[in-house]
Subunit: 150 residues, 2 copies
DNA sequence: GTATCTGCAAATCCTTTGCAAGTCA
DNA sequence: TGACTTGCAAAGGATTTGCAGATAC
């Protein structure tokens, strides 16, 4: 049990080829403290391996998503961000006034999840979207204009 | 006080021109039982008035958003949907298994809103995004594949 | 050796923009 | 009349795809 990455191990186990591109893309995702976009993954990989193409990044992300190893999160920027399944979960409060993202821990929303499950039999996957609104600072500033999207 | 549409009245009051395009775009939005996309608005308007251009739809939406008369909602489809401010509010549970959208009333999430406000001083605007997850049926079906997005 | 992957280039989808012509007030 | 609106066409950004050559196993 000492693989560089459990994801890499699992990819290999499932019969997928461990190409240098895939390894580098995985490293970028796993190494990202935050959530990373396809473009950012591409930039990181291309810095060491200029030959890669961004379509390979998208194809690899597609594969990893399909295998449940990487998750998407839509923070309303008009682009999707990705994070490794292994990197732990939290929720995102996205301020539409200043674009700041506040992280809150998973437990905060567990009661909501329970209510939706109980009353609507709906299993909410709250980790993969941002919750939009206004942070404290922006609320004070005359309600904050809120032109954060796209 | 008997305008066809309160939005139209307000647009005129603010000094914006009531062009036929704007009136028809407004009619499409207000007439939509559900949430409508720019493309759908365009199709509806173009049916009666083939001359319109979709850029006019986007520009009108931009204006109405700015004036707070129309709201966006991102249901994670890779496109934004719109609804009239006057059409009442509710929340959206979007099933990633079958793409179904379940509407829930605003009160259901008010406690969440209060918690976020109290603990994070964050004023969440929950009405403008969908909450993703799996509906009852799709949960039963072996967890449902969940390839709903884009 | 060969099925799987990749790079490349072009296409797609949604949305935005510049500009000259049209039109509401 | 004249500022505000529109149509048109072209650009924009994110993502996807077809295909032929490259490569992991």
């Amino acid at each position: 049990m000492h693989e560089k990455s459990s994801i890499i191990g699992r990819l290999g186990d499932k019969g997928y080829r461990l190409t240098p591109q895939r390894l580098m893309i995985l490293a970028a995702i796993e190494g990202s403290a935050d959530h990373i976009s396809a473009e950012e993954i591409y930039a990181q990989v291309a810095a060491k391996y200029p030959h890669v193409n961004i379509s390979t990044v998208y194809r690899t992300l597609e594969l990893l998503k399909r295998l449940g190893m990487v998750f998407e999160i839509d923070l309303g920027e008009g682009r999707i961000r990705y994070h490794a399944e292994s990197s732990g979960h939290h929720h995102h409060l996205v301020c539409q006034g200043c674009n700041r993202v506040v992280y809150i821990d998973e437990a905060t929303l567990s009661s909501l999840r329970n209510i939706l499950l109980r009353d609507y039999a709906f299993a909410a996957e709250l980790r993969h979207v941002g919750i939009f609104g206004l942070c404290n600072d922006c609320r004070k500033k005359s309600g904050g204009k809120g032109n954060a999207r796209r």
